[in-house]
C-alpha cells in the first residue's frame, strides 16, 4: 500500500543535463524520423537551440539518475504491482539538447478505490530551466493492483 503519510512529500530538487546522445537514442527508439529530433543542424534551421526533445521526453529526464525502487519503495511501492495509470503534460517552453533543467517533484495525493483493490499515488513534477522559468509540469498517476 502507498503510505498516505507521504501526501505532500517533496523529493530533493535535482539538476539534469539534457545530453544529445541520450536524446537522439530516445527519438530513434520511438521511430522518430523528423530531423528536428535527430539532427542538430536541421533543428537549428527550424529555430531551435539544438536537437528538440519530443513532448514526453521530460518524463525521462525526471527518471534520470534514480531507481524506481530507491525513490518509491519508501512510500510503499511494490514494483511488480505497479501500473502507470495516467500521465499529463503542460508545456510552457521547449527542451533541447545541451540544456540544463531543474526538477522538483512531490506527492500530491494517495488514495484507494474498489475497497483497496486499487491503490493510487499522484505525483506532480515541475521542470524549469536554469533561469527559473517553468518549461513543463507533469502529473503522473501510479496505480498498484492488490
Amino acid at each position: 500500500m502507498f503510505n498516505p503519510e507521504f501526501i505532500g512529500h517533496s523529493f530533493p530538487t535535482k539538476t539534469v543535463n539534457v545530453e544529445e546522445g541520450k536524446l537522439k537514442f530516445f527519438s530513434q527508439t520511438i521511430g522518430e524520423t523528423n530531423p528536428i529530433y535527430l539532427d542538430k543542424d536541421a533543428a537549428k534551421d527550424q529555430g531551435y537551440r539544438s536537437i528538440l526533445a519530443p513532448p514526453t521526453y521530460s518524463f525521462s529526464l525526471t527518471l534520470e539518475g534514480e531507481s524506481l525502487r530507491d525513490k518509491y519503495e519508501p512510500i510503499g511501492l511494490e514494483l511488480g504491482k505497479l501500473l502507470h495509470g495516467a500521465q499529463s503534460f503542460e508545456f510552457f517552453g521547449e527542451i533541447c539538447a545541451g540544456d540544463t533543467v531543474i526538477i522538483d517533484s512531490k506527492i500530491v495525493d494517495i488514495f484507494q478505490k474498489k475497497s483497496g483493490a486499487l491503490d493510487f499515488c499522484i505525483e506532480e513534477m515541475v521542470v524549469k530551466n536554469v533561469e527559473g522559468e517553468t518549461l513543463a509540469v507533469l502529473t503522473q498517476t501510479f496505480i498498484m493492483r492488490h
Partner: protein
C-alpha cells in the same frame, strides 16, 4: 500540418491515423534504456512470472511517445499547450498501435485560438490502450 491547414479543420473532423510497427521485445529493451524506466516488468520475463503474469508488457510511456509522434506530425511542437492520457489497458508485446485523433473543441482565449484534439491508440484487435487529449494553439 501547417497552421493554415489546421485552421481549416472543424469540430468532429477525423485526422489521418498513424500506425506504428508492432512492439517487439527488442523495442522494449531499447525503450527501457532510452527512457530511463528500468522496471523489470517490461523487460524481464522471469520477473513478470514471479509476480504472476504470463509475460512482460509495454511501457505506458512508449505508447504515449508513439501517440506524441502522431501529435507532432499534426502540430508544431511549440504550439502544443498540453497532452494527457489515461492508460486504459495493458499494451502487450506484439501490439500494433494505431493512433487516432478527432477535433473535439475549438475555443478562443484573449491570447490565442486553441484546438482540443481527442486522441486514442488502439491495438490490432481494436482494444483501446491509451485515451486522452491534447490542446494546440493554431492562430
Amino acid at each position: 500540418m501547417s497552421s493554415s491547414e489546421i485552421a481549416k479543420l472543424h469540430v468532429g473532423d477525423m485526422l489521418e491515423p498513424m500506425t506504428h510497427n508492432p512492439i517487439s521485445r527488442t523495442t522494449l529493451a531499447l525503450f527501457a534504456g532510452a527512457s530511463g524506466d528500468h522496471n523489470p516488468i517490461h523487460i524481464d520475463i522471469d520477473f513478470a512470472k514471479s509476480v504472476g503474469l504470463d509475460d512482460v508488457f509495454a511501457h505506458g510511456m512508449l505508447g504515449m511517445a508513439y501517440l506524441g509522434r502522431f501529435l507532432t506530425s499534426i502540430a508544431d511542437q511549440r504550439n502544443i499547450r498540453s497532452y494527457s492520457v489515461r492508460f486504459s489497458s495493458i499494451t502487450q508485446v506484439g501490439a500494433k498501435l494505431k493512433c487516432i485523433g478527432k477535433v473535439k473543441e475549438i475555443t478562443d482565449t484573449s491570447a490565442e485560438r486553441l484546438m482540443t484534439i481527442e486522441l486514442s491508440a488502439t491495438d490490432q484487435n481494436n482494444d483501446v490502450k491509451l485515451i486522452g487529449d491534447a490542446v494546440i494553439a493554431f492562430q
